[in-house]
Amino acid sequence: MVAFVAAVLGALPQSLVPAPVLWSLFGAAALIVLARELGLARFPVPENARLVPEDVQHRAHWGALQFGFEMGTGMRTYSPSALPHLALLAIVLVVPFPVAFAVAGGFAAGRLAMPLLSNAWSDDGSWTVVWGRTEPLVRPLLALTCVGALAALLLLTPTGA
């Protein structure tokens, strides 16, 4: 849903602003985010630094849906990475409308992977410890993958539409 809203909002700049300008803006943002993820720069990113309370899912008939919505959309969650912000910016500035849903689907799959892997790893939550130990290596790798994939995507859609 967030991707849909962003894609709709992005239709305006993508149709009015020349593609090279949008690419330049996005490229600059990508470099800044890459520097942050590689540990070369430090700056906060917009986040609603609160966790969704567990009792939300018991408050109403649609509690579980509300829990997933608040966490999935980032309404009430932390954001240790700036890559979600970059993906959102890409949808607004450079990603063609239909492709935005592939970005959103991938994002959801990436978010889903964590609880799946964690539960399959063990019942004691020790996957989080493994994540913390490998984070200095995994985080830059994911940043390079994300930025590289978006760059390749832009080269495939040179007109920006």
């Binding site: 993820e37 966490m71 969650t77 932390y78 954001s79 240790p80 990475s81 890559l83 979600p84 970059l86 993906a87 890409a90 990603v95 492709v99 935005a100 592939a102 970005v103 959103a104 689907g105 991938g106 994002f107 959801a108 799959a109 990436g110 978010r111 889903l112 992977a113 964590m114 609880p115 892997l117 399959a120 790893w121 996957w127 493994v130 994540w131 913390g132 490998t134 984070e135 290596l137 995994v138 985080r139 790798l141 994911l142 940043a143 993958t145 994300c146 590289g148 994939a149 978006l150 390749a152 995507l153 495939l156 859609t157």
Partner: protein, 64 residues
């Protein structure tokens, strides 16, 4: 009764997931470069978009 064999944990490791995304991205890029049909290029573009999104989503794993 013999105990169940241990699961291969390396498959569940965060680094494995990240490397799988790298491989998928490389595969999609190579497909897009070598493809001769527009449909294949479009499929590669969608896969690239999915990889970018998945990397962003997985990078946020520390938040849960």
């Amino acid at each position: 009764m013999r105990p169940a064999p241990p699961r291969p944990r390396w498959l569940l490791h965060p680094l494995t997931a990240a490397l799988a995304l790298v491989l998928l991205g490389a595969f999609a890029t190579a497909t897009a470069v070598a493809a001769q049909r527009a449909l294949a290029v479009a499929a590669a573009a969608l896969l690239l978009a999915g990889v970018a999104g998945a990397a962003a989503g997985f990078a946020n794993s520390g938040s849960t």
